[in-house]
């Protein structure tokens, strides 16, 4: 079994290297084929008026006069050394620019993850396989909340709680007070989706013979749900959670913009607007890295939850459901 885990971690890491290599290649292709002169972009964009000497110096420094394969290799080499390039706009290394903003985004993402997971688990556990009207209300609210775009939810929250009741600040990224609304805006739509997934899984599990079997032993309903059903239903939940946390960076762009918070999302949006490619691609690489790491964690969690997988071939992995 220990071998099994080592093999799985090894396999996942190799696959992860593949994903990262793919991401690095993608960033290279984007840089290489972007219309316009790269050297010009590096020294300050279209409005800068550098001397020919400066252009020549930048071209030589970045190897822009080399053939594509040499450029590709040195691109990969730089990434391996942790050099993601220099921001066209900020003129600081991309790693530094991202590093300065990472804390605020991490704070937001963690808060949203905790809120989303707790809410969906509690609601699903409480309502799965209950009376018709309870399930109706639960699935109805899940549907509405999951269909609500986070930027609109944010506007609603701002209207009610900031400008209406004046409970929470509308902007800023300092203190717990300023975290509440952005975290809710980010977490609620996903809590709807996760709640739906978990409730469907629970209702399926609660129909299984081993649940009936557990009930015939005289266990209380809550015991049956917590001890027997929840563990089975967690598999689809963590699969979805893995995907969702990966998508949090995208969500952060919206939430941080809406609530004028510091963070990687805001950094990314201003980079997109300024055509600051190194920063955009840096965030892409970061996202791929998070994805690889998350998948490893999710795979290990599968093994913790379902010991049967420890004996199954390494490829056995619960399938990923669709958008519903």
């Amino acid at each position: 079994m220990r071998n099994k885990i080592l093999r799985l971690v090894g396999g996942r890491l190799i696959a992860g290297v593949g994903v990262l290599w793919g991401a690095a290649t993608l960033t290279f292709l984007v840089l290489y084929f972007t219309p316009g002169d790269q050297a010009q972009a590096i020294v300050g964009g279209e409005n800068a008026a550098p001397t020919p000497e400066v252009i020549a110096q930048v071209t030589a420094e970045y190897g822009l006069d080399q053939p594509w394969y040499a450029q590709y290799l040195s691109h990969l080499g730089r990434i391996l050394h942790g050099d993601l390039g220099t921001s066209y706009r900020l003129h600081t290394p991309v790693t530094q620019a991202i590093g300065e903003q990472a804390g605020a985004t991490l704070e937001l993402a963690l808060a949203a993850a905790v809120v989303g997971l707790t809410l969906s688990t509690v609601v699903a556990l409480a309502t799965a396989k209950r009376r018709r009207w309870i399930r109706g209300i639960a699935s109805g609210s899940e549907l509405v909340i999951a269909s609500t775009p986070s930027f609109w939810l944010g506007i609603l929250l701002l209207t009610v709680f900031s400008f209406g009741l004046r409970l929470f600040p509308a902007t800023g990224s300092h203190g717990l007070q300023s975290l509440v609304l952005p975290a809710l805006a980010l977490a609620l739509p996903i809590a709807g989706v996760l709640g739906h997934v978990l409730r469907e899984a629970l209702e399926e599990v609660l129909d299984e013979p081993f649940i009936v079997s557990a009930r015939t032993r005289g266990l209380a309903d809550l015991t049956v749900r917590l001890r027997h059903a929840l563990r089975h239903a967690l598999v689809p939940l963590i699969t979805m959670t893995g995907y969702w946390v990966g998508a949090l960076l995208g969500g952060a762009v919206i939430t941080e913009t809406l609530f004028t918070r510091q963070g990687i999302g805001r950094l990314l949006l201003s980079a997109v607007n300024a055509k600051d490619l190194p920063v955009v691609l840096g965030v892409v690489l970061l996202s791929a890295g998070i994805y690889v790491l998350l998948n490893l964690v999710v795979d290990l969690l599968y093994l913790v939850i379902d010991p049967r997988l420890r004996d199954a071939p390494a490829t056995a992995r619960p399938a990923v459901g669709g958008a519903s």
Binding site: A15, G18, V19, G22, A23, L26, V30, F33, T34, P35, L143, V144, A146, S147, T148, P149, S150, F151, W152, L153, I155, L156, L158, T159, S162, F163, A170, G246, A247, L249, G250, G251, V253, I254, T257, L258, L268, L269, A271, V272, N273, K275, D276, L277, V280, L281, V283, V284, S287, A288, Y291, V292, A319, V320, G322, A323, S324
Partner: protein
């Protein structure tokens, strides 16, 4: 002819139908009606409103809902209801267009992976692994950084970002059907491989994926309006729900209706698409609605 070995008496057909299709819940009808109205608004927005969505009226800025302006006016005095109605086209186009791209690309790759040999399958699946590492919004941002903002770039970006997901689902579905006994029975009858694929594998694989795509339209639509909200999708003054909300953000304290109704439009659309999609899925699985 004497029937001496009677077959098991089956219940009459009507009774069986009843068991599998016990009628559609009213919510599903309602959702289908909303979808129908949305499509109508796309084709013929003039049926719903006589107001010009672009007509600026500086005397009528940020007016609350009234008989003249059902859902109020925006900061330029334009009619919010009319802008929502005329914005339907762009929003639906984003949702359906992006999913069409994802379906076409993902379907082709997924079927190839499901039917092809191990090499083809591995190649396609490893590429889709890499693709899955990029959330749709992030990939869309890369495309927009390079190619510039706009509705069609946003649409393409979201569509492409969804290809890996659909490739996986289509492949899984294809493999499932390829291994089913009825496909084996068709082979045993001596049907040629292309015929088995065209008659049994593809039609049965396509249906669940199409249903899944219905539900996917909702999330693609949200992603599209999110880009517009960030100012990277449909440019103003053209009406689009996301970009309306983007402007409304600056007037939250003064005009609640401006920030409310475009969002209602988005949410209502996504709910309708999801409800109809789920109902189709349940029916195709032979379960109750």
């Amino acid at each position: 002819m004497t029937v001496v070995t009677p077959a098991n008496p089956a219940p009459p057909v009507s009774a069986r139908r009843l068991r599998f299709r016990p009628g559609i819940r009213p919510g599903v009808y309602l959702a289908a009606l909303v979808l129908f109205l949305l499509v109508l608004a796309t084709v013929a927005p003039h049926l719903f409103t006589g107001q010009d969505p672009l007509a600026v009226d500086s005397a009528q800025t940020l007016r609350p809902p009234s008989a003249e302006h059902l859902l109020g006016t925006d900061e330029n005095g334009r009619d919010v209801f009319s802008r929502i109605v005329f914005g339907t086209r762009t929003s639906l186009l984003l949702g359906f267009g992006a999913i069409a791209i994802a379906l076409a690309g993902g379907g082709l790759l997924g079927v190839a992976a499901g039917l092809g040999n191990r090499f083809v399958e591995n190649l396609i699946m490893r590429f889709s692994d890499i693709g899955l590492a990029f959330p749709e919004l992030l990939l869309a941002l890369v495309v927009i950084t390079v190619a510039g903002s706009g509705t069609s770039n946003a649409l393409i970006a979201i569509g492409v970002a969804n290809i890996p997901n659909y490739a996986r689902v289509v492949r899984a579905q294809t493999l499932l059907i390829r291994r089913s006994s009825y496909v084996e029975a068709a082979h045993a009858l001596g049907l040629s491989v292309p015929r088995v694929v065209l008659r049994h594998v593809l039609p049965n694989a396509v249906k669940p994926v199409l249903i899944l795509a219905t539900i996917g339209v909702g999330s693609a639509l949200v992603a599209g309006s999110a880009l517009s909200f960030l100012g990277l999708g449909t440019p103003p003054p053209e009406p689009e729900w996301g970009s309306m909300l983007s402007t409304a953000r600056d007037f939250i304290s003064r005009a609640w209706w401006y920030g409310l109704f475009p969002g209602v439009a988005i949410t209502l659309t996504v709910i309708s698409v999801t409800v109809v999609g789920r109902a189709l899925r349940l029916r195709s699985e032979g379960r109750t609605w």
